[in-house]
Amino acid sequence: MVSSQNESNLLSSEGDSQRTQYPYVTGTSVIGIKYKDGILMAADMGGSYGSTIRYKSVERLKQVGKHSLIGASGEISDFQEILRYLDELILHDNMWDDGNSLGPKEVHNYLTRVMYNRRNKFDPLWNSLVLGGVKNGQKYLGSVSMIGVHFEDDHVATGFGNHLARPILREEWREDLTFEEGVKLLEKCMRNLLYRDRSAVNKMQIAKITEEGLTISEPYSLKTFWNFAAFKNPTVGAEGSW
């Protein structure tokens, strides 16, 4: 009696359960920065299905409890799962009804544990997350990757944002950015991503979290400029090309 399910396989968890092999519907970069009054985060609203931009109204920035804001890139269904975990976490935190509440640092670390544990089971939640917030005047901004690598910094980004946005932030981020300056800086980064990241869409949201509370903006688009001389007659130097 041979049961193929009993094949010992280092990479499967139990019996015939699966592990996440690759993502299907994905969101692209998220960028987060600290500014004078709190945290600003930006993400576009695209949900790509491979190379198709399948969904164009995906909200990738969400509130977590009283003090935190999460932004996610990667597999959207896994992000929805994470939101369910966070929902339950905040619910139980509120049920204590004792004046204590989980701040952004605690939520960030909880997420790190969750992501790392899944990674150890070879069944990751295929996301890179940005977690920011303000509690008792303390600003906090961190990120967690799908393998549980976590950072805390003044500005963070996921995916392509790390390569295209962070160099801009390294040059231009300052400790006491005003809200307007922060938004302008984020828009500069998002515009860069829009030009260069093929999975970016021109419909984004910016979220702001301060001691007072959280606001996520209505979706809007960035102005782009394509009127470069080189684009006017692109094949002029390459006969026979198309």
Binding site: W96, D98, G99, N100, L102, G103, K105, E106, H108, N109, Y110, R113, N136
Partner: protein, 274 residues
């Protein structure tokens, strides 16, 4: 309290609505040697009487550090106290691991109380025979809680448990109004005075008592014997006169077992410690 036909099982109610086994467990707390706690806005102090059984033996450990920001003093069955301290340490570590943040004292105390309650509602268990004074620090300042074998918990500005604790309580009742704004050293001084009250005329030295402190900027730590003796000398507390106010009021340890009740001031036959 006298034996009756409803006191064999913890899961048997008496007709008057009491759980005698739980009340007997609270008696065990009253037989243990005294433990005292008090707190200000920024600090909390625990103190306890530590008598060795004989000259040959060492003192029983009655104050436990649970985490950098929480400590506990026990009275009653010290073995039960040790086990509960281990549980508290475990909870603190697990919370710290998941959230990188100290477990709020108020939550630990509720978990402890829920754990104690379980033992009052299972026929195959017995209540923990130990009272715990939990001193800790969280975002809202210093806190002192008392956890009782019944599964109840209360927050206090100052409290005393164990044998002859009524004497200490009387002292604390006189002074507690100024504790909130007291300095760390004044709190320790008041703790030492309160301990002295429970000693009924015996000399207060650092060999019979233990002091621990936790506060803003100060992790929970047990003061060493030399430091305590220095404080006793400084405050000139060692004096051997009998305390002026002796509490005579005897509160029947009855009433609904849901109430912790005041410690009965039966001063006569209590053995020193367990």
């Amino acid at each position: 309290m006298f034996r009756n036909q409803y006191d064999t099982d913890v899961t048997t109610w008496s007709p008057a609505g009491r759980l005698f086994q739980v009340e007997y467990a609270m008696e065990a707390v009253k037989q243990g040697s005294a433990a005292i706690g008090l707190r200000s806005k920024t600090h909390a102090v625990l103190a306890c009487v530590n008598k060795a059984n004989s000259e040959l033996s060492s003192h029983q450990k009655k104050i436990f550090k649970v985490d950098d920001h929480i400590g506990v003093a026990i009275a009653g069955l010290t073995a039960d106290g040790r086990v509960l301290s281990r549980y508290m340490r475990s909870e603190c570590i697990n919370y710290g691991y998941t959230y990188e943040s100290p477990l709020p004292v108020g939550r630990l105390v509720v978990q402890l109380a829920d754990k104690a309650q379980v033992c009052t509602q299972r026929s195959w268990k017995r209540p923990y025979g130990v009272g715990l004074l939990v001193a800790g620090l969280d975002e809202s300042g210093a806190h002192l809680y008392y956890n009782c074998p019944s599964g109840n918990y209360f927050e206090y500005q100052a409290f005393a448990i164990g044998s002859r604790s009524q004497a200490a309580k009387t002292y604390l009742e006189r002074k507690f109004e100024k504790f909130q704004e007291s300095s760390r050293d004044d709190l320790i001084k008041d703790a030492l005075f309160a301990i002295r009250e429970t000693l009924q005329g015996e000399k207060l030295t650092s060999t019979v008592c233990t002091i621990a402190v936790v506060g803003v900027g100060e992790a929970f730590n047990i003061l060493d014997q030399a430091a305590v003796q220095a404080l006793i000398n400084e405050f000139e507390i060692s004096g051997e006169e009998v305390p002026a106010t002796e509490s005579v009021a005897e509160e029947a340890a009855g009433g609904a077992s849901a109430d912790q009740g005041g410690a009965a001031a039966e001063e006569e036959a209590a053995p020193m410690d367990i």
